[in-house]
Symmetry: D2
Subunit: 319 residues, 4 copies
Amino acid sequence: MDYLLTDRVKPVEVWPKMTVNELVHQMKGAGVFMGGNLAKAVDIYERMVNDGAYIFLSLAGALTPAGMRKIILTLIKKKLVNAIVSTGANLVHDTMEALGGSFYQGSPYLDDSQLYDAKIDRIYDILVTEKDFTEKFDNPILEIYADIDRSLKGKVISINELLIEIAKRLPTSDCIIKACYEHGVKLFCPTIADSVFGLQMAIYNRLHNGNLRVDAFEDLQEMWDIRERNERVGAVVLGGGVPKNYVFQSFFFSNKGLDYVIQITLDRPETGGLSGAPPHEAVSWGKVKPDANKVVVVCEVTIALPIIVAALLERLDKK
Amino acid sequence: MDYLLTDRVKPVEVWPKMTVNELVHQMKGAGVFMGGNLAKAVDIYERMVNDGAYIFLSLAGALTPAGMRKIILTLIKKKLVNAIVSTGANLVHDTMEALGGSFYQGSPYLDDSQLYDAKIDRIYDILVTEKDFTEKFDNPILEIYADIDRSLKGKVISINELLIEIAKRLPTSDCIIKACYEHGVKLFCPTIADSVFGLQMAIYNRLHNGNLRVDAFEDLQEMWDIRERNERVGAVVLGGGVPKNYVFQSFFFSNKGLDYVIQITLDRPETGGLSGAPPHEAVSWGKVKPDANKVVVVCEVTIALPIIVAALLERLDKK
Amino acid sequence: MDYLLTDRVKPVEVWPKMTVNELVHQMKGAGVFMGGNLAKAVDIYERMVNDGAYIFLSLAGALTPAGMRKIILTLIKKKLVNAIVSTGANLVHDTMEALGGSFYQGSPYLDDSQLYDAKIDRIYDILVTEKDFTEKFDNPILEIYADIDRSLKGKVISINELLIEIAKRLPTSDCIIKACYEHGVKLFCPTIADSVFGLQMAIYNRLHNGNLRVDAFEDLQEMWDIRERNERVGAVVLGGGVPKNYVFQSFFFSNKGLDYVIQITLDRPETGGLSGAPPHEAVSWGKVKPDANKVVVVCEVTIALPIIVAALLERLDKK
Amino acid sequence: MDYLLTDRVKPVEVWPKMTVNELVHQMKGAGVFMGGNLAKAVDIYERMVNDGAYIFLSLAGALTPAGMRKIILTLIKKKLVNAIVSTGANLVHDTMEALGGSFYQGSPYLDDSQLYDAKIDRIYDILVTEKDFTEKFDNPILEIYADIDRSLKGKVISINELLIEIAKRLPTSDCIIKACYEHGVKLFCPTIADSVFGLQMAIYNRLHNGNLRVDAFEDLQEMWDIRERNERVGAVVLGGGVPKNYVFQSFFFSNKGLDYVIQITLDRPETGGLSGAPPHEAVSWGKVKPDANKVVVVCEVTIALPIIVAALLERLDKK
């Protein structure tokens, strides 16, 4: 098995003022453990882009509160992603921030009872106020819902269409929903009911005599078309959950597995949950091609994502 | 701080033929680490039942393939749960098994490319055949969809109503969907589109000229009513994800947090994701009451759940 | 690959008053995820015992404070283990408790600065007082060291011999050090310097003009003899670390890998650390035989160990 | 509690050719989750250096095979560390590579039985040959042991002194043992017996009639002096285990806790093991000062360490 002994682990070297991409190249030289996988993730992303693949980005976890929204917006604006599948919460948080709300640096050791009394919500070490939720999200979104309702006149729309209607009414381009709309990036949010978008929808329909009707399954038709139309498809998976599965399961429509998978997660495979399942498990299902470029970076997203995108931008030299 | 030094860790003792509940009582005597938390989980479940609380069970991860379905059915049939919020996959797998499909013991080290060629799908160390998916789920469910479509005549229904329509047409009571229907347990599946139920719905509507319309938000009205009507509410959270959040976020409708939370997960809090977030974080949001009975058991569900339910049954002496 | 589709996942059933071993048999019927691995661990332990294998038990983590000491003593007294390799801390904690010290149930959320002021030490959710450490361990062990020093007259001994000398001077049999001595179980503690045994040794030799000399490597000769003399060897690994490696590396002396490995840990393999490395990685080194009975139970020890030993005792019917 | 709402999460921005330190500054602006903690780690390291603190570096896990050895050598040579506490394995691997051995990039999915037959050892996704171990480590170290034995004439030495004797006889400065010796960095290896240094020592003493005697506890005297002599002390903890505890427990000699702690690990706190225990738990023991600068970066070391050191070098402008 001497053929295995070809690529030596070249120890990582660091120096002052090295660029992020130079660091990633050093990690590639070592090529092992998670530093090696992080470097491989950059290679795969670069290849996806150069191959002209259709790129899905799946978002789970509190990515926008955690300061990842500018990077996601960069990917949208630079056409480094073609479709996004997000949890509802990420879109809620992102929209709230775009409408003037703030997230604050806190600590996981604060007294949650006191926070409750002070009407401050905690996401691990991030803080956000009830006031911002009310003023910068709930109230504006109720108005937007009312306006959409008036324009639809009872027509049942898809979740994607709802997001487009919202996008049209948002006053700023500095948010995922509107940036997707403006840059032609498809936005899917199959779990939208499981977020404040959903809670406000329930309030709108019950307390404001609303009549908004949104189909839970309709976006799958759009997903079907995407998979049929695109030969080479990749997925950048941040954190697992429904957004990951929603991208993976869509292979079913085209019977073509993903060609590229970058998965960033701290979840374990041993629970059998989809979030921690490695892409090669998905090969058995046909969700991922046997010879796909695939990697799992076991790393929290706020470390891995900035490195990957910074290195990618340097390579693509897009400014 | 001598008041802290009151409960000594009493070393766990074991003996032949000890019952599961005796084991749990030993773990309670020690009272620390995850054995202590597992014992606390049983105490909380017992208290919830005795207090007459409204009990939510949230299901994420591959619980039904992993052999947890009979335990879940036991909880339904013995009225130890009032409402279930599930991922789509768990309902798909459970229904398929009820309709004659099988899951097999495998290994996480099998060759996934070979499995793909053999049309065998893998979930960690569980195997299932494409043939069973097709024959024991896809085909029957397409027929069921057609029958529902005929009966609805274009009416838009909620996901819960769709599940009830499916339940009525399932030939066996030995599955979660039908057992919930027959025993008056509410069943929510906000992510149903993200499962084979969704894929087949897309196929039905496109290839069979179907016209099934299911509202993505409507079930929130039902959830609203539940939260308003019930004073004391508990949650048994298996694995996180959307099902967990869907239960937690519903506090919003009643402005009353959960009184009891049992959370079983291997996910970490450090990612900021909801799955690994401890219930005391949810206190800051108002999702959980400050003085709620709450515990996190950091343990894979197939170990923790059978122990909790076996001990609970012994305590409640329900046979 | 139909040969893979032989063992169906049989859903776990639970009932009132079921014994722990009955529960384990149910988990075996399902046979997947960690419940399946836990059941496999009991099978392997039973087989090791019935095959008359030489059984190593490696102890890392705060097992004795966490209430596992009676179970470990049961394994020693019932001859279900032949040699133990422990961290120093586990022996310190165990000896302190045997000499009258106590551990208390606390919480991971206490204020550590306040605990420091109150001279209370915390191990996750376990509390122990500085007073107990001083009175129930430091002072007695200094006297024991002085007595050993007088008897040795400058002779350099091994760590195992030091533990035997300590055992002879301990007033109670209810501790690991003395129980091993009395029941002919070999006790190794290669990291003894990294514990209060070490700190007190430093104090004894410096402040009390001590002259105790203990060889760091000598016990490897004993380990060598054990591996040469025993054909079939198994390891029960609780928590990884040096104790695990010390058992595994000893294959080197006999060129015979382990025949049985039960590993219980929450550590991940992706860091490349030995604690999370699965036994099959050790096969490449020769530390474990290719056809060994081996299993990893990803589970916290205070849940897994009581279950395994309770089920084992029921099977062996030793009372 | 409005005082909590002062530091807004500033979304991370990335750009082509940004330096690693610029990236770390962006992560600091966000300041949350693990990116925020990584940035904090760099700040703490910088402060430690500028404050003239005595800096311990603890090494556990397969760091040198994983390509971290040049970075560790950089820290030694640039005086960014004063003492190292290592597992035996890291020193074995590092010395072997310095003497001409190689590590190779592999995969965690290789067949370990085949690797065993081919005499290739695996560390997660790293490969190393038995031949290299024999020729580049075992044989040279046996000769070095013989030479040391001749020079000592029966004198019992400490582990640190043994490492110094080895350092004197190593032909290259490009390894941790010799670099520490040449740059005045103290090197401790309390678990040396638990490594090939130990196995070869057993072989030397048994098969070559060796008489090397090394005291297991003696280095604690040196550690005592270090703690007494140094007012401000910090620890950079890579991976936990004995090396971490050995640094932490030494507070005992001076009754002064650590002033700075940077801990990089993927281990969990819930097991109660020391590796995953956060530094604030150590505050209760007095091992860490209540007001110490401390951070845990939940991240695999091959990602976190290169970033921290690259950013540190840029800040210190040492080339």
